[in-house]
């Protein structure tokens, strides 16, 4: 490549964030070169500074952050030296940005088309009518249903995956030289993710746009990027071509990232005991809307049942029925062969004790104003009647179990913990009740992969130690592969298929299971291409909502 091809050149970029009265380094001297038409993948855990770098590539720093040092050169212009006016002319026109949550980034009060046209018209690239025609064209390229009409809908009238594609189309409106994708598919289901990935890749190729693709999902970035750069706590770990990076990572940290998906729990013997929890022909509804339709499955002690499905498939509703938050319209939940009262308020303390729950978002599941002592201690105090020293002992024991140093942590507040530690506290709180059955609702989906793996290992260890039965709600099939004994696949409130894991992961599959399984991104950089070819040959639906 000649020097002329360099589109974005970042040298020694340092960014600091304000914490109290001090400035703390978020990014310490990262270099980055991007050529025209090239896609660079930025990978890192949360807090690695990848989004911050992405925004800095537009010459922008979030509130409370400042770019303290370095050069950001975009096509010969130093963005740090550029005036607000110059930056305004670049942004949207030559550099565009696609945010993680399209649902939160679109203005809910305006139609998609109005928002699409804003940038090209304001920048004087096209007239309003040209822009509208262009939008329809791009919507068609992005394979949005009804490209002529979709622009006249409001953001809430469009599904999440479609919205994310509409946003990519919008970023394309001025045919920018550079697009920054900040985790564009993280909030989407696997099956929806595929469409968005395919659409993004096509359009970036067609227009020869350069892109920075920020994500924490390695398999995704393997499909998208020409080169990959790995970040850790604001420092660059290594950078290489995608192929090289996947086949021969050099750094230990990179290797640990690659190894994450290798956790596989030991094969369990077939269930001998009676099931702890059984769902018998459960139907449930929110008002007139039916969400569960004749669901039945069993959960045995020492076994993990993974309930898999897209959002809206009713998997979390099943958990609400078991816990008694949503009494079913038909059917019953058996615990040890005895029917549980449908409403949690009617259940005895012991019935409540034996079915515990771990939530997806530890942030909202732990009361921010209570110390860990109170958070973990309360169930032990309530159910087991522990007081004073015995209670403190038990809390320390639980903290030990979840691998947190008791002396250091016992009087902390949740806000003083990291995401993974918070989730561990959620686990400890469930354990404190000494239950026989725990519902894990997407417990790892808000966590980084390395942290998530630690949580899975911990759950596995606790299961064999305390004979626990788990119901594991997830949309991530990698997690299922790691931890499940039995799998229940749900779609639109029905059980599509269920059985032991080895059978479920071996063909033949139900079409929906097949779609789910094949949608899980693999590390192979050609996976997406192959998959799309295969699907078009078979005439399989591209996704569930089309």
């Amino acid at each position: 490549m000649t020097k002329k091809d360099v589109l974005l050149n970042i040298r020694g970029l340092k960014i600091e964030g304000k914490s109290g009265d001090d400035w703390l380094a978020i990014v310490n001297g990262v270099n980055l070169t991007l050529h025209r038409g090239e896609v660079l993948g930025l990978i890192g855990e949360s807090g690695a500074g990848k989004s911050t770098i992405g925004l800095a590539a537009m010459g922008f720093a979030r509130d409370g952050c400042r770019i303290s040092d370095g050069v950001i050169e975009f096509d010969g212009t130093d963005l740090r030296e550029a005036s607000q006016d110059q930056l305004r002319r670049l942004r949207g026109k030559r550099i565009a940005y696609v945010a993680q949550s399209a649902a939160a980034s679109f203005n809910p009060a305006h139609k998609l088309m109005d928002q699409y046209c804003e940038a090209p018209v304001r920048h004087g690239v096209m007239s309003r009518s040209q822009a509208e025609k262009d939008a329809v064209e791009l919507y068609r390229k992005m394979q949005l249903p009804d490209p002529e009409g979709i622009g006249f809908r409001f953001p809430h009238q469009v599904s999440g995956g479609q919205l994310q594609r509409a946003m990519t189309a919008m970023a394309m409106s001025c045919r920018p030289d550079l697009i920054i994708f900040d985790e564009p598919t993280t909030a989407l289901d696997v099956t929806t993710q595929i469409e968005v990935l395919a659409a993004i890749r096509d359009i970036v190729e067609q227009f020869g746009t350069a892109a920075i693709y920020i994500t924490h999902d390695l398999a995704v970035v393997a499909q998208m990027a020409d080169r990959i750069k790995i970040l850790l706590k604001g420092d660059e770990v290594e950078e290489a071509d995608t192929e090289t990076m996947l086949s021969a990572p050099k750094d230990d940290y990179t290797k640990s990232l690659w190894a994450v998906r290798s956790f596989q729990r030991a094969e369990q013997a077939a269930p001998r005991d009676k099931p702890v929890v059984s769902l018998r022909n459960i139907s449930a509804a929110y008002g007139p809307v039916k969400v569960l339709d004749d669901i039945s499955f069993d959960i045995h002690p020492r076994r993990t049942v993974a309930v898999v499905g897209e959002s809206g498939s009713g998997k979390s509703t099943a958990a609400r029925v078991i816990t008694g938050l949503l009494p079913p319209t038909r059917g019953e939940v058996l615990f040890d062969g005895e029917a549980l009262p449908p409403d949690y308020r009617k259940r005895t303390r012991d019935q409540l004790r034996h079915a515990q729950m771990i939530y997806q978002m530890a942030d909202t599941a732990l009361n921010p104003k209570l110390t860990l002592r109170r958070l973990i201690g309360r169930p032990a105090q309530m159910y087991l009647g522990l007081r004073g020293r015995a209670l403190t002992e038990r809390i320390r024991e639980l903290l030990d179990l979840i691998e947190l140093e008791p002396d250091q942590y016992i009087d902390r507040l949740p806000s003083e913990l990291s995401g993974g530690q918070k989730q561990r506290i959620g686990i400890a709180r469930a354990l404190a009740a000494e239950p026989r059955f725990i519902i894990c609702d997407e417990v790892t989906s808000a966590l980084d992969q390395i942290v998530a793996e630690g949580i899975l290992r911990l759950l596995d260890k606790l299961q064999s130690e305390f004979n626990l039965a788990y119901m594991f709600i997830t949309h991530d099939l990698a997690t299922v592969r790691a931890i499940a004994d039995d799998v229940v696949v749900m779609q639109k409130g029905r059980v599509v298929e269920q059985g032991p894991k080895p059978e479920m992961f071996a063909p033949p599959h139900e079409p929906y299971t097949e779609l789910l399984l094949s949608s899980v991104p693999e590390m192979d950089p050609d996976w997406l291409t192959k998959l799309l070819e295969q699907r078009s040959r078979k005439g399989l639906p591209q996704s569930a909502d089309q």
Binding site: L352, M357, T364, P379, M382, R429, A433
Partner: protein, 307 residues
């Protein structure tokens, strides 16, 4: 020229205030220890100024009989005596010493306003928390009742109730507290609604916790910050409504010294260029500002905005 003199005095006042606040902070930090000491040392100057003012008001209120040179209700001279060495702020329409009445007024006005606000908060937040946590019919019933009460302009409502029940200090406190509690109810309910949908409340419910534990241990710590902020604001409003009612003759009854009625009784003096009637109003304004300075600081500390 007049403007320059004004600027000069304003600068001096500001300087004195800053110096006083700084001195108060130093003294307060010196006499306390531990957590409190650290908090005080890091308090902004506005907050320490606020604390100083509140402290002074408290001392004045408690020691009123010792500080005041003349009794509260006795006529000690002729009417409307101008400021003099004997009567620092002159005398009022009946010949009572203004300075002494200002000091007794601290006790009456501030004491009543504080009692009223506290009561309004007790009523409003208890019902607000209950309505949002229990929901259903209780919520509907209480909320609609509050809507009805809020539909009537509060001053007119207060006048009406005071005319019906008579104008003793106890009824005054009760009436204003009940009327003001509707605003507190609204806020408490709204804030609680935001908390009860959190997963940790669901977890507590599923654990089988009773209503009392749920409200006091799980919800209350999460709603105190906005309630404290509202307390500061509400305190000032209560102050104003009591003064307004006193001004209209239905609040604190003569001969009890009260800042609101003192303004009314001596209002005529303003026409002669005498600022004495404005002093009680100024005392109210100063306390209002001071309370809000302190509340702002507490809020900043409680909400973790510092991060």
């Amino acid at each position: 020229m007049g403007f320059l003199i004004f600027l000069f005095w304003a600068a001096i006042t500001l300087g004195v205030a800053i110096a006083a606040a700084w001195g108060f902070r130093a003294v307060a930090a010196a006499v306390t220890r531990g957590e409190m000491r650290r908090a005080l040392r890091n308090a902004p100057l506005t907050a320490s100024f606020g604390m100083l003012v509140i402290f002074i008001y408290l001392v004045v209120a408690i020691l009123a009989p010792l500080i005041a040179p003349f009794p509260e209700r006795t006529v000690v001279g002729s009417q409307f005596i101008p400021w003099s060495a004997e009567h620092w702020l002159g005398t009022d329409a009946l010949g009572r010493d203004m300075f002494s009445r200002m000091i007794y007024g601290t006790r009456n006005t501030v004491g009543i306003a504080f009692a009223t606000t506290a009561l309004a908060f007790l009523i409003g937040s208890v019902f607000g928390l209950l309505a949002a946590t229990v929901g259903g019919w209780l919520d509907q019933g209480l909320s609609r009742l509050v809507d009805v009460m809020m539909a009537i302009p509060s001053l007119i409502f207060a006048l009406l109730l005071l005319t019906i029940f008579g104008t003793s200090i106890l009824t005054l406190i009760l009436v204003i507290a009940v009327i003001d509690s509707t605003r507190v109810f609204r806020l408490a309910r709204a804030v609680t609604e935001g908390v009860v949908v959190m997963d940790y409340i669901e977890a507590a419910r599923l654990r089988g916790e009773g209503l009392g534990y749920l409200i006091t241990r799980e919800i209350l710590p999460n709603v105190t910050a906005p309630l404290v902020a509202e307390f500061g604001l509400r305190f000032c409003f209560v102050f104003l409504s009591i003064s307004a009612l006193s001004f209209l003759g239905l609040g604190i009854q003569p001969p009890t010294a009260d800042w609101g009625s003192m303004v009314r009784e001596n209002a005529t003096l303003i026409t002669f260029g005498d600022i004495t009637p404005l002093l009680p109003a100024g005392a109210i304004a100063l306390l209002t500002v001071a309370v809000n300075f302190v509340v702002d600081w507490q809020l900043y500390r409680a909400s973790g905005l510092k991060e």
